[in-house]
Symmetry: D4
Subunit: 254 residues, 8 copies
């Protein structure tokens, strides 16, 4: 249930077209709903935060994911995102929700029963440093898109051949918010942020080896960026970057 | 020289009220200016990024800081910020720039020759978890304010007595962007971000001891936040948080 | 052999109903017993610590586990716990001990030949932050229950939707001891401990990714808790948390 | 204001001996009180947690400490603890609160206007491994004592000469809760916990050098204890250990 | 070729019973021998160090191991040790060297064509803290035994039930050198070393989980031992401990 | 397209033998070429850096690798290197490029359609400490050779038998640039660099176990070398070492 | 009281020349003695370990050190060592014990009231890699000498000029036990141990900077030594190395 | 004594103008010279490595530095460098060697009794990212210059305003070897190396704060550079970078 749905319900009560008893039944689970003891689905989140709870697939069984999705889909018809879900679990879920779409390149499953609608005039740009960083970039792209934003991408423009980046200067300068995804030394966000006013969300990836330490080198590089319009999310957290970018892109819409 | 000053200059040339030669002299240093070999001041930054270069005081001599400020103040009358400057160096600088103000609680020096002007309808809220985190929060506050934003603060509302936070719920929900400053376990940004739609910039501080490891515990806590509208800056980096918050708050104004 | 069994034996000797020779034979292995050279089972532990040795299954063969269980079950009829045992090894053990029960959601095997009995009026509450933390929480629950305590649970009440936690306020305030299990940023123990007088045992889990570093972020968060009635056990150590909670809950019974 | 004081006040209102207006004035600050913008003193804590807020002296000015103490001492006559306060700041505070006592060996300042009273039949034992660990052990001792517990100590009984520990076996076995303070390899808590049923709170100290890494070696040793009735607090956190021990010792009194 | 074999050869030359040409041929490879470009076998080591080169099996193919063993077995009839070799590679090697014995519990393969002979009156004792530490302890045992020492063992005597250790006091006090193998908190070497004059070689193992960090906790514990007759080898390095113990036990024999 | 090919093309235009239109078409992709959205191949690199882009195989699909190789082979006939490619992917690639050669001992695939030609009078020497370090050393060898250098090797000359190294003294002193590959304690580069004037590129490998931490010990050892003619590349980065050595060996040829 | 003094006392009792009462008074404190509550001096150590307790000066006040020394000097006339004591504290102690000698280059204070006597035919050699490592090497030297060993030294023979080491080959080969002290990359122990049969105690020092991390690089290098007759003590722990070397050198004398 | 001086001496012997006895006396110390037991000066280094030993000032007393300089200056008239020497020690040294020059901005002291002479046609370029990195850059500059190279510099051209770097493109492309000095995220070497063929020596500095961890972030960034013509030296090791650059620049001259 999102903010609009809640207002409609209350207006119906005010107009007498909905009895207090029925409204009460409907609202009972608005705060959260216990799903068989293993989950407390936060239905209130769509009202409070403008977007429903997102299911973190890792460490949950297919059965648990289906159970949570069922509770969510009964409560609202907003989009449902499942992140960090492999193809095997995704197939199980699709049996229960045939309309859900699995994006194997981003390990995401999306159940979207209505068009999200565009909630901001701004636009989000997702840039990746290398080809191997694309899965994380795709996760950011899909998340931001599902949340109702214009999103575009530029892939494989790392700093070892920096003219590739500069060839996209106009597109970069037009973006309202930029997500920059990079592994290895993680230098790309600093260079991009040095070119623009817009806020840059930096996503370190675990791409690399040896002293890359599974993304630590990139993470530290980004936290120590000499450009100041940069903030950082967790290693490989494309989802968080897309969510944060959407949150920024929609501040006018709050 | 900011974007507006540049347009005026070019219009003067177009109207014939400024000779090409004089314009050329004026523009010669626009890209950057070499200051006695030790600094290349990036005067172009105000045009490109909407705010002039900020001087990182740590590791520079008073003399170097004054030199850079002189070059900057000749090129434009925008506000000049010096961060991470102790009282001793600040006194030296004030001798050369008597209008500069030193904020000892944030180790910042600000030279502001005209009112910054408010560049966004939005507002930034800076929250600190504890009394000891205030210096970092102040740095964020002063930075965002100097950059032309409405900024307010709430201090000392850590999670050990969480009702103190909830008492400010209305103010928190009204903010366009929120900066949350916390040391120790760094849990406050997760709780705040769970309450709102707005983007949250989390700033870990080095407050604490032992296994706090000078802010690493707080940093890791924030990077692993279970709330998704959170991005993180470097430990004790109040300046970066204020800058990023301003960048977000002014995206409509781009 | 527990404390009660020892007293009975000695009283029998005192009354003459048990010969010194027989008592001696019985007591010979009371300190510890060598099992085929690979283990020294500490039979004295039940007397000294109120609960027999617990078998750490990881790194032991099925055969070694069965051997140790045989020695223990001959010496006493107390409950026998095997932790960190996978389903394959568990099946091997159940062939030898058909009464043993395997709890696959907690990787524990329990051989309980008599009801443990409740040894304290207090009660232990086990809380988990997320659905993925449940296996560790279950290990704590089963351990504390096997050791003779009233135990209840609340699962999936993380800080990103903190009203879910507050809905259980009464139950939380009634607990004598609370075990809080959380991964990612590990903020939940601080919030819970801030609400109550009771001691809180915090258990970091390896749930998360990237800069969660397999539970280090959660561990550091908990060690740096700004609430003072918190102490921490090893990452994923549900068993230790349940044991410690039982030890606390039974201090009146010492 | 503690729980008893609150009940008295409400009973006075019920009996009509206190007007609603006066009660209201009295209760206005019960949740928390803003002290000059830099602190929100949590007066509700004494009711909620059985002990008032404790002032973490590090990173606060003498003036801030005095300000918070003034607010607290007006609200209640419970004991006030200031931790991590050096002798210089302590002298400043004593000027404002001449009854306060400074314990230089534990860097604590205690303002106790009435006897704490003993709130539990149990007793807490504080053990230190070496002479250099005594300051941390003293902090635990003073905290637990101020909170209304019987507390005793054994100092300098490290594992390199383990017979020194065993000489105190009777005292160790009589304790309800044990705090064990150790630096270097931090092995003492495992050995002590192996001897008793009682819960053991382990406190790593930064005593040592080189690969002790300021207490990390001891911390890791304690987190990996092969004894299960052990939980750990932050490095050098004698205060937290004393608080947790008190919380455990008083569970019967909840 | 060991020291004795070298002396015999030179004496033969001196006596004229061996021609200079033949001796030269024999000695040509004494410094080292190139094996197909991938290895330079150090035949001189047996002379210089009293024991031939030992083959580190990890990261080598079966073929490379056999090649090196062939070169070594032609040059001398001393024992040949291969460490860190799995059962699959071991089977390959045994095809080429049917007399070699594989010890699967220590991942060692030993080719011993003559009895090593006892080279010291002293004796080495190998102690392990837990059952899971036995593979590493076995590696130390087999190494020291192969090098010509009296070696005995005590397994599963960890500090959580320290009376099990004290029951072996006499045996411990009789040892010339003691190897102590322990995972988790690694406290056992400190306790053992506190009981005796003899040098103690501490071997941390990767047994444990979570904040054990694959043996780091045990390693740091041992490096920070409060007993001074302790030195440490690498994590899981049973071979190195056995070698070092032998080196110590035979100093009289140098 | 390399520098020579570019000059030829421009001369053809100057001479009129190539039309401007055709030249333009040819040059359009010279900066970089978008390959199906997942890669921006930097064709300009051969001109700018003297060697075309190298494909980092890890994290790319066979299909992506083939796509990039197709774009590169159309643009120029320079050698194409693919690093960190396993045998399975290599087989896929060889189907599309039957002339490509897979070096399984270095996980490299090389497509070389013309002899590289020797571009320097100098020579590069690659030394490995142990047999297990050979794969990394081979990667360095193949890279440097493909880039047009004289390259020789010495394998298995670690510091535990340092006479093996000294036996190659003449060869070592003749080298223009030396690559030293070592795992474990990584001491070999210091010893080699102490013997010569030539620059030494040190490559730490992940060979070892326990406190080797996957190459960190060797990396730190090399960064702290007491010999000054040493610089270091990433752990296991044989490719980078070979590339850097070539870059040095060809400085005269710039 | 050492082993010999104990035997004499008991023989006196047996012969009747010492009354049981007097003997009892004398022996009362043999296990340990409580010194004003802050120390439990382990007088039994000289009997058990062949050398009395050594005082770790760091973190103790001058007064505490004098107190412990008084208790020790009353109980026995063995040598008393105080390690990690600065010149200021040393002067305080010398006021109380004018015979004590302070070695400022090793931060040690030694009170030796009788010649230690040589307890082994073997000899200990202490080698340092650099001039800056000498203080740690001196600590090892003084410790081993005080414990009754022949000790010699070689200083400043690091691996960057390895011929300096080889010039001392004869002396190195004659040593029974070798202590090797090195900072930076810590490679020297591997090279030395590769030359000899004798056991080598490696001592990492904090000499160096940057990625030396206060001795961690050297420590890891030594733990990963490719020579097997090496064991390691804590960073800068010259005392421990000297003690361990003495323990090894005197194994014949046990 | 350098290579040329040695040849002259031997020729004099050959011609009979120098007696064998005198030559022998002269050559006696050529390998190394013992300076009062605390240093073994490696006089052979100038012959072997083309440059004499450099004195690492940190951790040595002024007296030791003077002693080593005296030994060196008697043996040869090559330049003598002392690194990491503060102004106080430098003044002491200048008393003994009035011709020595102290460079306070690089903490270096240089005693140069003859012009070094230029030993290569190539040139070395030293680039620094920020003003605060200049001291390290100066150390590299002075070292390379003292070793006989053409050296130029560009300071303060970090990636946040990357056009400042591109303005120097021609100078950068002309360099034979480039040293790039950067703190914070350490991204500059990747960008520079992406522009040129020349080898790049990257020097991380400890400039920065928080998650910069004293240069670790920059170090990791550089080790993971996506440009391949990069190798790295220790944090703040300007000396090593200058030395390595000289070694590379003079490979033609070997």
């Amino acid at each position: 249930m999102n903010e609009k749905e809640l207002r409609l319900l209350l207006e119906s009560v005010a107009k007498g077209s909905l009895s207090v008893e029925k409204a009460q039944t409907h609202l009972k689970n608005i705060a959260f709903e216990d799903v068989d003891g293993y989950a407390n689905v936060d239905h209130h989140r769509a009202i409070r935060k403008g977007f429903p709870e997102v299911i973190f697939g890792q460490g949950k069984t297919s059965q648990q994911i289906v159970g949570i999705m069922s509770a969510m889909s009964k409560a609202s018809d907003e989009v449902i995102l499942v992140t960090r879900i492999g193809s095997e679990k995704a197939l199980d879920v699709i049996k229960a929700f045939p309309d859900a779409q699995f994006h194997s390149d981003a390990n995401m499953l999306i159940l979207s029963r209505k068009e999200p609608g565009i909630k901001s005039d701004g636009n989000i740009l997702v840039i990746s440093a290398g080809t191997s960083d694309i899965p994380v970039a795709k996760e950011a792209y899909l998340t931001a898109k599902s949340m109702g934003n214009h999103v575009t991408t530029i892939f494989d423009v790392g700093v070892a051949g920096i003219h590739r980046l500069f060839a996209h200067r106009a597109k970069i300068e037009r973006a309202s918010v930029i997500v920059v995804v990079a592994g290895m030394e993680g230098a790309l966000p600093s260079v991009v942020a040095g070119m623009v006013k817009a806020p840059v969300i930096a996503v370190p990836t675990s791409v690399g080896y040896g002293a890359g330490f599974g993304g630590i080198a990139a993470l530290l590089g980004m936290l120590n960026s000499c450009s100041s319009n940069v903030a950082v999310v967790n290693i490989d957290n494309g989802f968080g970057a897309g969510y944060m970018a959407s949150s920024i892109n929609q501040i006018a819409a709050h």
